[in-house]
Symmetry: C2
Subunit: 399 residues, 2 copies
Amino acid sequence: MNFTFSSFADGLKSSAVREILKLTQGNAVISLAGGLPAEEHFPLAAVREAFERVFASGGKSSLQYGLTEGYTPLREAICARMAKKGVNVKPENMLITTGSQQAIYLLTRVYMSVGDVVLVENPTYLAALQIFQASGVRVVGVEADEHGMRMDDLEAKLKQYRPKMVYVTPTFANPTGKVWSVERRKQLLALCKPNHVLILEDDPYGEIQFDRNAKYPSIFSLDEHPEGSAVLYTSTFSKTVVPALRTGWIIGDTRVITQMTKAKQAVDLHSSTLDQQALYQLLTHFDLDAHIQNIRDEYRRRMELMKSLLQDARFSDLRWNEPQGGMFFWVELPESIDASELLKRAVEKGVAFVPGVDFYAENPRFNTMRLNFTHTDNDSMKLGLDRLADALDAYKHNV
Amino acid sequence: MNFTFSSFADGLKSSAVREILKLTQGNAVISLAGGLPAEEHFPLAAVREAFERVFASGGKSSLQYGLTEGYTPLREAICARMAKKGVNVKPENMLITTGSQQAIYLLTRVYMSVGDVVLVENPTYLAALQIFQASGVRVVGVEADEHGMRMDDLEAKLKQYRPKMVYVTPTFANPTGKVWSVERRKQLLALCKPNHVLILEDDPYGEIQFDRNAKYPSIFSLDEHPEGSAVLYTSTFSKTVVPALRTGWIIGDTRVITQMTKAKQAVDLHSSTLDQQALYQLLTHFDLDAHIQNIRDEYRRRMELMKSLLQDARFSDLRWNEPQGGMFFWVELPESIDASELLKRAVEKGVAFVPGVDFYAENPRFNTMRLNFTHTDNDSMKLGLDRLADALDAYKHNV
């Protein structure tokens, strides 16, 4: 039997993160590679109780098929949470998805055709790049500085490429950890909207902010909304509650949400309704904001530890910025070092990270890497960075 | 803000079932429309206990991200169940999906390109038609008799259209309830495989058989397998355990499963791991086969009731076959009756069904309808069929 696959299949690369995770599974490698939250801080008791409430209150009805749009009380509860952030939306502006990954996929499926152009930060989230590239969408990177995309380059590329969409993660970007200034957020809107260029604002990490007083208004909140907004905003409970529930959401103009809902109906009918009902119970009976504040404090401590370790003399030729939130350090190695080659040495020494190359839409910089600081405990992090320093030494002396 | 959508979005029709379900929600309409299992027979206690076991045994680790392929112990447990049906597969031949709906979508995404041809039974499952049509795949119906597709027509259409795939539901098809003979299953294989035409065998209802002794070997089991098989086989726990868990699976040659897994990684990373872990616990600690036998007996009783109601003199001009399993009666009305028009009268009278027209890939027969017998209790079914008879009378006297 011969099999011949579609261009979508041919366009899918297996992700580097995934291959590395396979390498490191079941052995003594300390992984700074994944984007995993800290298990020891998962609210197990609250999740357990939430499921118990679902079974006790919903009974057998809780086990039936549900709406493609998502469980209505959950959508209402998310609307209420969004309202506290200056965003006014109704359940009909929202689709519940299997993680925000599915929101990115579905929007791409209903909005982008082969040959359409999407502008992205460069580097950006690699699984979004995968979706765009496999879908036959042309991905063009926009130059950036520490405040976000550079508006002169964006303006030039809007004219040159006539994109249909701009994809951004303006708050604690993956992989760079960058936060866009409010000014840049407004400028992005001002440039895109008159040209009817859709903005996909991906915000998985926005709640993981280390400065209690800082405000990072979403681009969605800065536009007229929900109807008439140029922005589709997606987020997830994977980082704030637990990943296993696989529950994300996307909000925007109902014309777009309706198309995405029809697509989701064809793709998988609906996401797990037990998970959605449990999340609703959890949002109702558990102080999620206090829990998030605990996570922020814990992740800030871990970030501070990694920062102090990176300040060691053995890393003196590395460059990085201190993240203000999220889960990652983005590190620039000396020009002579190829991070993918370094990774092989690192895995031999017993530590893993993600080379930066796969995060680039174009013009990759091979001397970059992403280090996760949320998943390892203090001892493992110290040992991991020690091993990384050993790997750097080994690399330098053999090349 | 102007939005312009992709051809995929433009190709998606909202399903008739869905629109009808909206019409009937929250009021006194008796729905024979959906494909819903009977809630009163859901194994709530077992599901509840299964989740409790997950939390107790897995602890916080049960809440972390999981593998795209699916929870390995669940895949092993499904392999063991499949082995009892003469199918030998390993976990690497299997992808866990969000219902079998997602399996159909993912296979289409990785295997079919715009303009490729899929052959289908006519009529067939409307949500599969939706996927094919929105994806730009050309759908061609094959003539059928009571034993399955007619092989002369299949042979002619294989030559004429050079399809990449044939989609079939050979056991208790939706909507027709038909069972293919073993001979036809073998002939389908014999015709497709030498031409490298993939067979997608969709089997959501196979376990709901009314004759305890009957054997319905899957087409997958009749081919060499798993490697080298021309067949991808998909099924689900939605009908045998509960729909809310949204857990289906697809098995086949690893070359295809690998491509689908990469696609799933891009589409939603993975399905709910809590649901998968709970299903594994349920398969381990609950007698699912005994439960399935109870469901079979109950659904057979409901089918017998609907059969006796359809034998009423008021329905004497309807034609139908007694289903040997599954969830539906497929009913042919007199040629003069348009089932979509009849539905409007029926909803006025307080009963709903699905007109057959949307199940046809081509040459729709407007005088057909699908009646579900699994979701309504005895009293509602009697009242529903009574209202249907009233609607028929009203239709006949006004047209």
